[in-house]
Amino acid sequence: MVGDQMKSRRRSRGYWYILPSMVFIVIIFMIPLTYTIVMSFLRWNLLRPDLGIRAAGFSNYVRLFTDPFTLDTVGRTFYFVLGAVLIELIAGLCIALALDTEFKGWKIVQSVLLVPFMIAPVVVGYVWRFVLNSDYGPIIHILRQLGLGGLVEKPLLSNPSAAMPVLIVADAWEYIPFVTLVLLAGLKSIPYEPYEAAFVDGASSLQRFHYITLPLLRPSILVAVVIRTLTSLRVFDIVFIMTGGGPGTATETLAFYGYRTAFQAYNVGFSSAINMLTFAIAVFFTILYMKIIGGGKNYA
């Protein structure tokens, strides 16, 4: 009886401990989310205060899901997210494996590796725009020197088939260090004993990677992939700086479409609906990753 009372008191004390974080979450997450949901059901254009704020029912969502442009934009966003996350994961894993050993000067290598991640995305956009400039950009110059000038006859950022891959490369360049860092931390936390046992059993390095490293690295991969997917979904800076969504609509992602609707058309209701769609996709991806990589376990 006394034990039960103590347990219940301890539990209620626990709730008090988490209260500050709960308040924080409500303020920075729940209130804006609720507000966005409410706005997505309104017809509200900041440029037309004379029309007032009117209930829109599901009309913003009906427009969102019946407009072919939205579907195209979702497709482009998926293309960007999958392309960027895949490149970052593969390259990040390779680099992390290469760095998972102590050699002379490895700390310097790690610091240098982090440089792109420390640069603001806006600056990354400008740097890549400069690098790809068809007049004086170094990459184009090198390609021309190698006799591959024909590949870049049409400037890459003005070429509808090349612009999105270029954005993916720019994004990957910035975030590979982040993925590397997360995976490196994961590699460092793997105990040595399983490898010892594998050596004794005569496992090859590929088998050790497949049966030990990869399974034990899953939580870190999950963290890296979820974080990168969520941040890639709302990519805006490099699109805005490098292509402005063009050529045509070739690089217009959901976040950019949301921005355009909110800050060019000032259509608050419809842009909130776009943001809710982005949110739903983010939730979908997170659950999907947890099922695939996490094997259903809740690593978060």
């Binding site: 900041l46 440029l47 029309l51 509808p160 402005g244 969504g245 050529p247 217009e252 060019q264």
Partner: protein
């Protein structure tokens, strides 16, 4: 001692209540720098203190809109783009300046394009800076005897700044000698800048964006021709121009790498800037060309204007009007101009003092007189969305080759139609 201190505090509070400075707001830019030079003189002359808040251009309108919508804005005189006043006036955020007693002292007849500043017969913005979309060209190349001789031999007529679209094409082709010199610099990045190339040609060919019932009509034959003409001109531009914005286009011109740049008048300040231009003293300006058969006709031409408006919430509108009278007075416009402004008044444009500082100003004034200054976006709240959000992507799609001219314009017309229906226009 304590009593004296309290008395001092009371006096200070009382004075601060009465002497509230006039609050001005603006973007960060060269024409703002120009009129800022007048603030001190205004205070000396009128005793009215003025303060200014400046925002980066990219989020100035957002700041104004969000401030006005939430009722938290404390700006008496916002210096705004002419394109913004319809939305601000519909929301009653800005006040009809012509309703302020004493407004008649402002000589409107001296300001070209003033009809654009009026809504239902009332003036909401007094233009301070006016400019036109046109062509900046290299006078030294156009006046070179060898170039002149070669041009006449090839095309059979005199080399001159293009007056017609046909001449414009010929001159661009003639000077296109990549990679050292390009015929023309254009702004191909998907943005309002790209839309300007289409709009100029649409107007020159007699087309329009909207009809009198506000229905979109730019997918007309003139529209399709205009769009195809934009693409045609890009063959005489640096391939990199497909992703240029205004600044990059200007940079190419002022580095001496193109014979012409299809931009607007402000570009001339950059041409004359000794710290970065390699073509100082070699630039000229000409208004946008038109088809040969329309030479001599007054046609719409891209017109960009910034000016002063007055917030409805401004407590002292007479003080705001005092500022407007002072800063837009001819002599003040002339004196401020060298800092980086193209005055709105004809009397300032034609002043000998200004002609000395800006030898090209006469050409600009002449172009202004020969055209119907037309804002790049229709002066309705949805105007910006139509041009930046719908037309610019359509032009970009055509240039990128993902849609034909007809399809790009038809799709854009459908979108504008939906926007106008949502806005209750029909």
């Amino acid at each position: 001692m304590r009593n004296r201190f309290l008395l001092f505090l009371v006096v200070l509070l009382t004075v601060s209540c009465f002497a509230v400075p006039l609050q001005l707001s603006s973007e960060v830019g060269i024409h703002t720098d120009a009129w800022k030079t007048r603030m001190e003189g205004f205070t000396k002359e009128t005793g009215i203190e003025v303060e200014i808040q400046q925002f980066p251009y990219a989020n100035y309108l957002d700041q104004l809109m969000l401030g006005y919508t939430s009722g938290r804005v404390e700006i008496d005189v916002p210096y705004i783009s002419m394109l913004w006043y319809p939305a601000l006036s519909i929301g009653n955020y800005i006040y009809p300046i012509s309703d302020i007693p004493g407004y008649e002292k402002i000589d409107e007849s001296d300001i070209p394009g003033i009809r654009n500043a009026k809504l239902n017969g009332k003036t909401y913005i007094v233009p301070y800076m006016n400019e036109l979309g046109g062509i900046i060209y290299r006078k030294d190349l156009f006046e070179d005897p060898t170039e002149k001789a070669n041009f006449i031999a090839k095309y059979g007529y005199e080399l001159q700044p293009p007056q017609t679209l046909e001449q414009y094409r010929d001159v661009a082709e003639f000077f296109n000698r990549p990679p050292d010199l390009y015929g023309v610099t254009l702004m191909g990045r998907r943005s309002i800048f790209l839309a300007t190339h289409f709009m100029q040609r649409l107007w020159a060919k007699g087309g329009a964006l909207l009809d009198l019932n506000m229905r979109p009509i730019f997918n007309s034959e003139a529209g399709i021709e205009a769009l195809e003409e934009v693409k045609y001109m890009f063959q005489f531009a640096n391939p990199a121009a497909m992703n240029y914005d205004f600044q990059e286009a200007l940079n190419e011109f002022i580095s001496g790498r193109s014979a012409m740049a299809e931009v607007w008048t402000t570009g001339m300040f950059y041409v004359e800037d000794q710290s970065r231009s390699s073509v100082v003293g070699k630039g000229g300006f000409v208004g946008f060309p038109r088809p040969e058969e329309k030479l001599g006709e007054k046609l719409p031409m891209l017109y960009i204007s910034w000016g002063f408006s007055v917030s409805s919430a401004a407590p002292d509108k007479e003080a705001a009007l005092e500022w407007l009278l002072y800063v837009t007075e001819t002599q003040n416009e002339v004196e401020a101009a060298p800092t980086g402004n193209i005055p709105a008044r004809f009397s300032a444009l034609n002043s000998p003092e200004l002609a000395e500082s800006f030898p090209w100003i006469g050409d600009f004034a002449a172009a202004m007189e020969k055209c119907i200054p037309t804002p790049i976006v229709p002066l309705i709240p949805e105007g910006g969305s139509i041009v930046s959000g719908i037309i610019a992507p359509a032009v970009s799609e055509f240039l990128a080759g993902t849609k034909t001219a007809e399809k790009a314009l038809n799709d854009a017309v459908k979108e504008v139609d939906r926007l106008m229906r949502d806005g209750g226009y029909y």
